[in-house]
Amino acid sequence: MSNYRPPPTGGRPPRLPTGSGRLQTGSFRIGTGMRPGSRGVGGIGGGALNSQVVISDRPVTGQGLGGMGTGVKGPQRQVQDKSYYLGLLRSKIGELNNEVMKLTRELDSLQQESATYMTYEKRAEVLASEVEDLRGELGDYNTLIDKLNTETEIEAIIEDYSALCHQNEIESRTIDSLFAEKHQHEIKANQLETEIEQEKQLTETLIESMDEEVRSKYHQLKLENAQIKEDAEQKEKELESLTEKAKMLKEEVATSDLKQRAFQLHQQLAEVTAKRDEWKQKEKETPEQERERLLKQVKRDNQEIASLERRSDELRDELDKHQESLRQTEANLDEAQGEKAAKIKELKAKEDERQSYIDSFEDLKKAEMEKLENLQEMIVGVLEHISEAIVESENLPSVSQYQELQEDLLYKQEEVKKASKTANTLESQNAQLQKDLHNINEMEDKIKKELETLKENISTMEQEVEVFSDLEKLRNDQEMIEKGLIVEREKLAQRKIAVKKNTEEVQAVYENEKAILAKDETYTQLGNLERKLQHIEQNNFVMKEFIATRQMEGNYKQVAERVQQLQKDYNELLIQAIQP
């Protein structure tokens, strides 16, 4: 509210002196009005001088006849690449070297650290054992403290101690005895080993020291053993060949139904006879013998089963292998067939092309023939044209003449070009010159004007010279004025002092009054009341504004006027309608 004007009442009184001060400045203002007179003379002189400078400075050739300035070349290259890049490389190399040095230093330090680590490890081991010892000691102390805390008698402790000592002794003795036992066992083991060794040597010596007979028998037996092994192998081979033969025969049998049937019957017969024999034998056999036989048979059967299983496994593996190879060969076959198919397709496409060409051959031929006819006609036409031209050519100038004429033409064309060029240049020159002329005319006007002003100046100056030539008088006048001014100045200085005093007095009075006023109760009361009034007025204004805006909102005057107008119009229309 009153924030905009901080000293509304308190700030008012000091304005009085400034108000009265204005009077003096007003009179002073009029005094300075003397200036324009002296200013006028100086102004004219200055103007003339300025204009003179303008004339001499006017650049006549600058009006378009000046030559062209050479253009300024662009800025030079600032980077010399080779050296620049070399420098760059060098700096990079330096950086890399620094890096390498740094890394080697780091490596050294790491190695040293690892060496120290070893020693530290050793130290750590030592320290660990020490720690262990100390821990044991600590345990002792702890138990001691325990004992102290439980307040056991010293005698009991001593008893305990002696008991423990005793036990300790016994245990150490048993350990000693165990150690001795272990030692004895070791010795025994050594003895046994040496004995075995001796035994081995003994057998060797025995063999060597045997009689001739025994030794030969030993060798013979060895040989026999080898022979039997060989025999077994041979027998196996024989068996194989026989089974093969059987297979062959079986296959042979399989080809004819009759034979097969005979074979089956044979087999049956064999089996049956075998059974019969068996039964016969069985009849002879005692139960023990029978059991033995059956056991044997079971064993044999088991062995056979195992061998058969092994064989079946082998066969299965073989089958897998064969299937694999079969698959591979199939894949190879597929590839080969794909290539062939592509070739066939190509060939077929070619054949199709050929067929279509053959089909369309007739049409093409027709078209070509037509073309040929057209061309022939054209040739005839051209020939006719040429013959006509030949007839005409007799009337034309000779080749040399023609050349001359052409040269002439060229020369003339060039001439025309030159002429147009000169015309252009002349035109532009004309324009330039016209511009120059215009400028010069303007300048002439200006110069004339300046001349006039200069003449005026000269006349005024002459007058002034007359005035100034009477130096005596001038000097006197000057002195008079000066004296007058000095007197005035003194007067004013005195007045100034007086005024200053006066103001001081007034100021003092003012201050005094202000102090009195500030003490006065009614003054402060008045101030308060004033503020109250201000506040009330503000509220008043706000209310008024509010009322006005509300009135605006509820203003039906315009609407009413409009309604009345409409009614009037309507009535008029009605009257018009009723009147015949």
Partner: protein, 191 residues
């Protein structure tokens, strides 16, 4: 050296027509507007420097924002001794304030020195932004101003519209009056 002229500018008008608001806008180049009404107590003095159009001289307007409240009438008039220029303000939404203009002008003119023949002045029609509530038309204002030899300006302190112009006009006319006076004195001295 350019001259500096000082003109005592008395601003008068009925309460709440927007004198203080106008002067505030003038001082702040239209950046501030006194929205809430705070009645002026006595006279508020402020200074506004005006650069002239056709001269290098400067006019300093010492603006005497006088309270419009009739209660302060006698008190306020003490400050108007030798007015340089006058600005009478009225509110276009308040016909009463327009009718009071004659009274205000007479009061100011009574304070001018006897030797002064003319007192340059302007009639300012304020609050033209409130077009709907307007009661005093522009024609009325113009013809009244003409009859009192005042220059007429329509403005709005709220919309910052046409506020500098009346004061510029006052400065210009004060300056030209000063120059004509100076010329007169010169001719008198020379003859």
């Amino acid at each position: 050296m350019p001259l500096v002229l000082r003109a005592k500018t008395v601003v008068v008008g009925d309460p709440a027509v927007g004198k203080s608001a106008l002067i505030k806008s003038l001082q702040t180049d239209g950046t501030q507007f006194l929205k809430s009404y705070s009645m002026t107590l006595g006279v508020d003095i402020s200074m506004k420097t005006i650069n002239l159009k056709d001269s290098e001289d400067i006019v300093e307007l010492y603006v005497y924002d006088s309270a419009g409240k009739e209660l302060y009438s006698d008190f306020v008039q003490n400050f108007w001794e030798h007015p340089g220029v006058v600005a009478v303000v009225f509110d276009v939404t308040d016909r009463q304030s327009f009718q009071s203009c004659t009274k205000w002008l007479e009061r100011v003119k009574a304070r001018k020195a006897a030797v002064e023949l003319v007192l340059p002045g302007v009639l300012i029609a304020n609050k033209v932004d409130l077009t709907q509530r307007r009661e005093v038309t522009e024609e009325e204002g113009r013809s009244f101003a003409k009859s009192k030899e005042l220059e007429y300006f329509e403005c709005s302190a709220k919309e910052q519209d046409n506020i500098q112009e009346p004061f510029k006009y006052l400065a210009e006319s004060f300056h030209s009056l000063y120059q004509s006076k100076a010329n007169q004195i010169q001719t008198l001295v020379l003859s």
